[in-house]
Symmetry: C2
Amino acid sequence: MADFAFDEDSRVVAAGAEGAFTAALTGRWNGTAGAVNGGYMLAIGTRALALAMPFPDPVVVSGFFLRPGTPGPAAVSTSVIRSGRTTAFGEAALTQDGKDVIRATAAFARLGGGPGPGTSTGTGTGSGTGQDGPVFLDGTPPALPPPAECVGIPVGSFGLASIAERIEFRSAELPGWFLGRPSGRPASEFWMRFADGREADLLSLPLLVDSTAPSVLELGAGSTTIQLTVHLRAHPAPGWLACRATTRFVSNGYHEEDFEVWDSAGTLVAQSRQLALILPVAS
Amino acid sequence: MADFAFDEDSRVVAAGAEGAFTAALTGRWNGTAGAVNGGYMLAIGTRALALAMPFPDPVVVSGFFLRPGTPGPAAVSTSVIRSGRTTAFGEAALTQDGKDVIRATAAFARLGGGPGPGTSTGTGTGSGTGQDGPVFLDGTPPALPPPAECVGIPVGSFGLASIAERIEFRSAELPGWFLGRPSGRPASEFWMRFADGREADLLSLPLLVDSTAPSVLELGAGSTTIQLTVHLRAHPAPGWLACRATTRFVSNGYHEEDFEVWDSAGTLVAQSRQLALILPVAS
């Protein structure tokens, strides 16, 4: 059975020294600027860490993006920093030609099966006490039309953005930046899933939260990520993921971008935030 | 001239090897549980990094909290991972008795003087083009009564929480958790400043964003931080800082806490988010 693209392209192979792995970055996850997607590289680092850590589930991953990655061989060195009773911490460095491309730090634990009874209220603000303590939910999934009634940017619209062939996005309307009319509102809601049918899991979420065009395109600006923190909050149920991306503050040449991922059961499965540098967009 | 408490207690001294420093954790920044405050330790790591980096300003700092810190000697080892044209990246480890207490990674740059014309609108959503590119601001400082009309928890209410003597907090009303009536709403707005008159700067913000009681106290729960990411967005103007702390999602035994810091000129100077474990509160 052939692997799904994500599993094939994020594979890491033990390389002799303890905690050392090799990987091969492919050109199949390039963004609109033709660069290897940062979240894809962070997912590779997380996958290598998962092999080294005493707990199965990443609960928070922080990645710093030092250099652009290029398709080709990479080395990933990992180390377990601290292994506690419920939480373990590790670091990973992904290098190419001996140069650091990303540095990642992560905490791993055993994540419970569900968010508790709070989600079953479906009321937006839920609260209660689950098997793992109190539950409080001040937020709901985006209210999107069903995926079949949504539209997606035609694959192939961007010659360089191969990631658009790997991940499907659907929204109620095509984004303003794509139509040549940036909306001035750097926020969006949309469905997302792997195009080849692979279901999302905790290890692929660091890629998925970084896989869309930056919200600041709606301000006529481009962006390059400096740092990305991903909180993994629950194991995603199979199916489409409902997402919300928002930038609230652009100033001094920087912006943040927040990202929420909700699974098909209406559970928040990931929350991420990145700090990025504003770039001019070629017109 | 005597140093301010923060400068004295976060001092790092070069220790021979390149990038190596010693520090002394004091008991003057303990939280309600009597533990050394995590943000205080992250500020020490950031201050050590600032001595090693080719740019003056931290723009994003990520800290992982591996073990509780204890008052006493600590070692801080730093390394510059990558020095680019506009951004440099570094790592710091704070250890006590040879054991890792925190790991920090940060990006440094030269942060512009102000957020551009967007803030002068005072309308909440501002936009324009500053010297460093586009400006977009979808948010405003908390609408608080002047500090003189606000109230603060009496210093000394918590025998163990020495941090309450170092940092002043004022809010329109005393928090529900303090009055023994948790409000059920894990969000708050308040003023904050160093009690001894030290003005906030970029190096003290990693402490300040972690210096308040956790929002989940309003749910009757306690909390211990696993990871904290701080975005430093502008140099703070002197005076009181207006802050907003919010937890939106408590599930599976974890919660996030978001924190905004606005300076006296109405500029967003820091945005932080942490992932924390829910703890029972001793009743």
